[in-house]
Symmetry: C2
Subunit: 337 residues, 2 copies
Amino acid sequence: MAAEAGVSPTAVSFVLNGRDGGNIAPETKKRILETAERLGYEPHHVARSLRSQTTRSIGMVTDEVASSPFGGRMLAAAAERAESAGHIMLVMDLHSRFDGEAAAIHELERRQVDSLIYATMGFRLLTAKPATQLPLVLLNCTAQQDDELSVFPDDVAGAQGALNHLADLGHRRVAMLGGGWDPLASPMEQGNISGPIRRDAFVAAAKERGVEAGVSELGWRINDGYRAAMSVLDVPSERRPTGLFAITDRVAMGAMLAAARLGLDVPGDVSIIGFDDEDWFADCTVPPLTTMALPHLRMGDEAAAMALDAAAGRTITERRRALPCELLVRESTAPPR
Amino acid sequence: MAAEAGVSPTAVSFVLNGRDGGNIAPETKKRILETAERLGYEPHHVARSLRSQTTRSIGMVTDEVASSPFGGRMLAAAAERAESAGHIMLVMDLHSRFDGEAAAIHELERRQVDSLIYATMGFRLLTAKPATQLPLVLLNCTAQQDDELSVFPDDVAGAQGALNHLADLGHRRVAMLGGGWDPLASPMEQGNISGPIRRDAFVAAAKERGVEAGVSELGWRINDGYRAAMSVLDVPSERRPTGLFAITDRVAMGAMLAAARLGLDVPGDVSIIGFDDEDWFADCTVPPLTTMALPHLRMGDEAAAMALDAAAGRTITERRRALPCELLVRESTAPPR
DNA sequence: CTGTTAGCGCTTTCAA
DNA sequence: TTGAAAGCGCTAACAG
């Protein structure tokens, strides 16, 4: 390339990296640019990495995030943000092996990634943050005492928002369905802290609004929701809640099944609001499910942005970011009648 | 490192790469190994890449696979296989931008990945295979005329298997629910060829087994399944099918809703079998859904294995691999009564 | 059997 | 304003 343009490698390097602070004659610069264009020349990425000690890449280690329904969204959003900054994501999935964490990080360090994202499937509170010298951002999890960089959903505001939606609609007697400890959950999921957070915030918000709120924590899945809704709904109508807050969309689905079984109309007899906005799940229920959407896309995006900033040595203002959930009002909620 | 052990870099390189074909004195070798151990020495990956022209990594470009419910599974499985061979996955998500393909591949080539996996969300037939000089394997898609390396689900055998399951149970009148053209589908999904493949195979298998088979292609989602099942089930019982094959688990879910609405017991009055084994979806329905599981994990695994083989220049016997689906018998199917 | 040497393709200091 | 030269850390001919 240098030979082809009849200049030195130095000149080429300067021009192509925009480092020509008036040091290169316009004429020379022009010739270099033209030659590069004509040859379709592009700097050799590996060589450049070796020299500059930066690979323009960010490593992502996931605890089966890649295989969870939400994980893909976070990963894709993070990858997109990385790409837009000329970086790329290297992924290592722990596929539920607790032990692999150190090895995965080590491998990523060997490959000289510029920063690291550690992502979990459920929203978890980490007792020990992954050990590394690299800039690290926690995605969908956060560390106990550290002021580690982290990005996670604002479950508190989400649950409050759900209650407020119901209260604004005029509901005075509501119930929260689902949550609690799930013996069937994978070990990874056990550390999930969304359950108690959402419950406490929901109950507190209900108290504040003067709304009567029951809780039936029978699990996280469709049939748990079915059972919970059955227990809560199958009572005389004057004691029956008119609004149901399901801790997940799956639980909401079960609640819908239960309502149908009991001959209750949704949202006529009972309003149901879910949480998560899992895939197109909420779009597909009958009626379409109102839900509190987890900000997975934005979480992935922010995590990558933080990783990029940290790698570049920029100062980061907000080190722990609780991102707001979004209320998606569809057709499963309405004023009580 | 070489200095520390008092030997030449050559000796170190040979020993650490296992290339010491009797060329290194056992004594020297031992000293090198000990020193490496003591120093926690590891070869510099980037430098090695520069020298050896191989980065031990495989590039993956996805058309929003990373953000689809199944995509994560394939990606994670591929990543795991790559890791086990000391490779790593670099991912570029096209996030539904058709145009980005060439750019994504180009970026991966610049980063000197050893091979490429091109993965799609739905099972697609590619008219033009992505252009690259690198070894390329198509994941969840295949090319029209080429003998390109590809891995995809055996939808034909899957649909046959579903019918055979129903027929073996004794059903003589069945219906297929869902599929057809979906105007609401994303452009990416439009190219999905699973629909016609499954339908034709199902119908042909029914004919072969002497089973009467109707088809109601009203779409791919829960409420489409609801509508399709309603139209098929809401007839006099002597004309009503006793077995339903839903083209996706979502459609099956809708069919269950319809059955419940009509007061029909599943599987007593009507058996329902789904397709895909989406997430824990099938586990969560009431009753648990019998379904034909797509081999996503194995697909990701095989794709990575093929990419690895191709990169290493090994000869690959089966260039197009249709991987078998697995029948998961749960509780939504039973003999007719 | 072992070590010297010459690069891989780039960036950057330093001298011209 | 430009170019020569020295590496980044490793591998692999090729001598010794």
